[in-house]
């Protein structure tokens, strides 16, 4: 809706118009429209709040009183639904008054297969239900006060300003009953009219402030009790979505990097080692010096290739990307220098990507630690899916002394596991043994 096409709304008083003209005529209709909305909101507030208050207080008292009998529970539940209805009405009004969208409120729902008792009790267990009830009680007070003031101000403004039009028709019952007369301004109609119009002007000028103040009070209360939980929930939902997007962006960036390394330098090095091997064959056995040089070059190439491979395993292990967690863990175990016992119990399908990655790196880092620092002669890897959670345990019979703060690569691991909502626990007393444990949930 564009402002220009909107007809001048309902009872827009003249003073408002003249005061707003200076602010720019383009914005004038919106200011007036909002004033109209707020006035209407406050004026219908009291009857609605009264109905809500009466129904809900009655329902709660009766329901709670009869709770020992069977009938109390359905009455309570019905009352909750009445409160929800009024809360919904209030939310719609607040959204209209403030002219903005609010996230929709999601109440707890009973499971589709729930019995009647569950269905009765679920609404009672929802905190938002009780906030709705609370709003009906507290909101009754603010709605009543707001309604009284706004009604008085509107009446004062309208009656005062229009006094000259009807004041003459009011029979003057004799005696000092008018305020201007009491104040000693005399009793001519002109004086009375002037006085009442002046009063009307004062009411009219302050009316926008009064409307604004009570509108803020009531919408504020509604936002606090009826909308803040939904808004928080929406923020949480947005963060969850954002984090999921960040995770998948990170994962695909890393996989692309790994693919680039594989398709680029890694292939060139493999080719280089093939060519060096061929050169060795071409040189023949009767040139030991050349053979020695080629040998050294070939060894360098192989070492570089191995380092590069280790690097890309640290970025995004291709076996994990292509074949999943079990294959990747078995490959890790096969590379372990220290003899290792493996016990893997995972479902056949794939787990969420960030879970697989976290678990893989826990095991990888723990086994690196075993190989480099522990002096162990035997280690053990256990990876089980228990319920909705992957439990990882890597233990060895080594010297212990591994610590999260010691820069054994375990610190970065801690963050990695935390990022997947998991817990990492390292027990490694001096003298051993070392146990690295992690629990990573599979839900988002």
């Amino acid at each position: 809706m564009s402002d220009a096409t909107v007809p001048n709304p309902t009872p827009g008083p003249a003073p408002m118009q003249s005061s707003a003209v200076g602010a720019g005529s383009a914005r004038l209709p919106e200011v007036i429209r909002r004033f109209g909305r707020e006035s209407a909101y406050l004026l219908v507030g009291f009857p609605i709040a009264l109905a809500a208050f009466v129904l809900i207080v009655t329902g709660l008292s009766v329901g709670a009183g009869l709770l020992v009998t069977v009938i109390g529970l359905p009455i309570l539940t019905a009352t909750i639904f009445v409160a929800r209805g009024f809360a919904h009405l209030e939310r719609v009004q607040v959204a209209g008054v403030l002219g903005r969208e609010f996230p929709s409120v999601h109440y707890h729902r009973p499971a589709p297969d729930a019995g009647w008792f569950r269905r009765m009790v679920t609404p009672l267990g929802d905190p938002q239900s009780w906030l709705d009830v609370l709003h009906a009680l507290v909101g009754f007070v603010t709605a009543t006060v707001g309604w009284s003031f706004v009604l008085t101000w509107w009446a004062g403004a309208l009656a005062g300003l229009s006094f000259p039009a009807w004041g003459w028709a009011v029979p003057n019952g004799g005696g000092a009953e008018d305020l201007p007369e009491l104040l000693g301004f005399g009793q001519s109609f002109a004086v009375k009219a002037l006085f009442y119009v002046a009063t009307g002007v004062v009411f009219a000028l302050t009316l926008p402030l009064v409307v604004r103040a009570f509108s803020l009070l009531r919408t504020g209360l509604a936002q606090l009790l009826l909308l803040s939980r939904a808004e928080t929930q929406q923020q949480v939902d947005e963060l969850v979505v954002g984090r999921r997007a960040a995770r998948s962006a990170e994962a695909s960036a890393l996989q692309r990097l790994e693919r680039d390394i594989h398709d680029g330098p890694q292939q060139r090095l493999v080719r280089l080692s093939m060519d060096l091997g061929r050169a060795q064959k071409q040189a023949g056995p009767d040139n030991p010096q050349l053979q020695g040089t080629l040998d050294a070059a070939l060894r360098q190439t192989k070492d570089t290739l191995e380092e590069l491979r280790a690097l890309s395993r640290g970025i995004a292990p291709p076996v994990l990307t292509d074949r999943g967690l079990r294959a990747a863990l078995e490959e890790l175990a096969a590379r372990s220098i220290v003899p290792i016992d493996v016990d893997i119990d995972l479902p056949a399908g794939r787990l969420p990507h960030h879970v697989e990655t976290a678990v893989y790196f826990v095991v990888s880092e723990a086994l690196t630690n075993v190989a480099k620092h522990s002096g162990a002669t035997q280690c053990m890897m256990t990876v089980h899916l228990v319920g909705e959670e992957v439990r990882v345990r890597v233990s060895d019979d080594g010297l212990g002394g591994a610590h999260l703060s010691k820069g054994h690569g375990l610190v970065g691991l801690h963050d990695r596991v935390r990022a997947a909502d998991g817990v990492l626990n390292v027990r490694s007393p001096d003298g051993g043994p070392t146990v690295v444990e992690a629990e990573v949930p599979c839900g988002s």
């Binding site: 594989h262 493999v270 093939m274 061929r278 292509d322 294959a327 096969a334 016992d341």
Partner: protein, 214 residues
Amino acid sequence: MRIVIADDSLLLREGLQLLLTEVGHEVVAAVGDGPSFVEAVLTQRPDVALVDVRMPPSHSDEGLRAAVSVRAEWPEAKVMVLSQYVEVSYADELLGTGSGGVGYLLKDRVSAIDEFLDSVERVAAGGTVLDPQVVSQLMVRRRGDDPVSTLTPRETEVLGLMAEGRSNASIAQALVVSDGAVEKHTQRIFAKLGLPPDEGQHRRVLAVLAYLRT
């Protein structure tokens, strides 16, 4: 020998081609994806075919799928699969396609030219070649209480080499011992593990692998 090679990288395809032709083999086809590999092998009927696992269009296990379907069409095909990493289930699938003439090697092995060429020849001759890493991956699945742990270190070594698909002569060469010594080791291993006595080479590999994975 007449050889078909498949690798999606032109660089490596050329490298392999040069390597093989220089030692006197003939590369009859060099292709870059799974479907053309299957077609090339079935029309050319080479003595041996080399195929990379990760190829288009799927970029995951295309080469393996291709090798399996080649062997389904033509069971006598000799196929060597080259992979960037070890995945035991790849080896499983390959060994499950029939008797002998299959190999599964890590790509790195190519740079040790003589050993690589030797492996290719063994596969072409109907042998079975498994990468040492596949074997060690099978070995680590063992728990502490099984008969493999009763093997002496030398016997464990021999078991590993048997699983890689080597003949007794080849094992003797690798360990620098006499054929007779290897023969004695293998007999003792078979006895300790309760395996049927030595038969054909491929069956021996299968028996050892079957044992290792129970």
